[in-house]
Symmetry: C2
Subunit: 216 residues, 2 copies
């Protein structure tokens, strides 16, 4: 079972590594990190390099696709080589999934037209502009397309997917294997739960990051 995770510059590492850590533990799974050009991929904060071992074209028909998010998605909304790979891979995939703003790439590829989908809360408007119907859920399943909310939601999504792919006992074993018994120190991890001033702060920071990236 091939699981392809496309990497690109300015992606968010945990978007990819959360699902990888879960799905790589499925019996028979082979996670393949792919990119337009194989080699080092620098994450959003420039502090980490992940290696894409293969080119997109080396893995045209993965069983599962996991598209991570990150600020870099904004530069890829018209990137035909990547969008075309997503579109083509989706034709034969068993599951096509995204984490965080990876949903923007699924939408840009035309996969989410008129469908319910989730993304990072900060990108809901943009997801709607791209044709999807954003909903405030952590994981959204629409046929074989599964979208997850921001960054850490990929872990929940992957466990749910593991249960669908190999049954609940295998998924439970993986959850125990990664000791996923979360005890977050605060209850501010969703837009609907966070104090408004935090939301305003993060929206401001995101605007700054996008502006500085545009002018970089």
């Amino acid at each position: 079972m091939d699981i392809a995770i496309p990497l690109y510059d300015r992606m968010t590492a945990l978007d990819a590594i959360g699902p990888y850590e879960v799905l790589s533990r499925l019996p028979g799974a082979r996670v393949r990190f792919v990119a337009k050009t194989p080699g080092g991929i620098t994450t959003d904060n420039k502090m980490l390099t992940l290696i894409a071992d293969e080119a997109l074209d080396d893995v045209p028909h993965p069983d599962i696709i996991v598209v991570p998010g990150g600020l870099g998605t904004r530069d890829l909304l018209h990137d035909e080589p990547l969008l075309n790979w997503i579109r083509t891979a989706h034709e034969t995939s068993t599951w096509t999934t995204s984490v965080c703003t990876g949903a923007l790439l699924l939408a840009a590829a035309g996969l989410l037209d008129g469908l319910d989908a989730t993304t990072h809360w900060i990108a809901r408007d943009l997801l709607a502009e791209l044709g999807a119907n954003p909903v405030a859920q952590r994981v959204v399943v629409q046929g074989k397309i599964v979208t997850a909310a921001g960054v850490s939601a990929g872990i929940d999504m992957a466990l749910m997917l593991a249960a669908r792919v190999r049954g609940p006992q295998v998924a439970q074993a993986i959850q125990l294997g990664i000791e996923y018994d979360p005890q977050p120190p605060f209850d501010t991890g969703a837009l609907e739960k966070a104090p408004p001033e935090l939301v305003t702060l993060l929206r401001g920071l995101a605007d700054l990051e996008e502006a500085s990236a545009t002018h970089a």
Copy 2:
């Protein structure tokens, strides 16, 4: 503020990437991935390569140390270059932390003698053999040493640490930024909650992995 994360072959990626994703968002933070030899580091399942940009000696005095776990720890329990780096860095660190079986390396370096500590549930006995007092908690704070339980517990640990380092509001903003509002599909993520047959299954798998690694 320098945050050093030592990487080594057969580590578990999420152990490192969870805390990285949180701590890299602290104002002024610079996460530095270090290794005995800079370059590509292959994770436990051989499906992913992370880059260590610098040598251990390039970052002798980080403010925060995060030691990830993984099967590779078993080969490092007598690795003096790494253990000596941990020991020396700990002398001047503000916080010395571990995730999962990274605690075995803190213990092997002599940092946990007689102290309460946590690790992956499967390694509690080994942690005790190395001189620590294993406790069944997700995060354990002993002075400036913080240990986290298995794999995913590094996210909770890092958020707690973020609050101690920069105050609760910053930590809450980070939690909202990574949309950490976990909704695990099962409640089997801890030894005390999991069905006994799953625990037996995972202990068996772990023994197999260690055996095959020893004979590789």
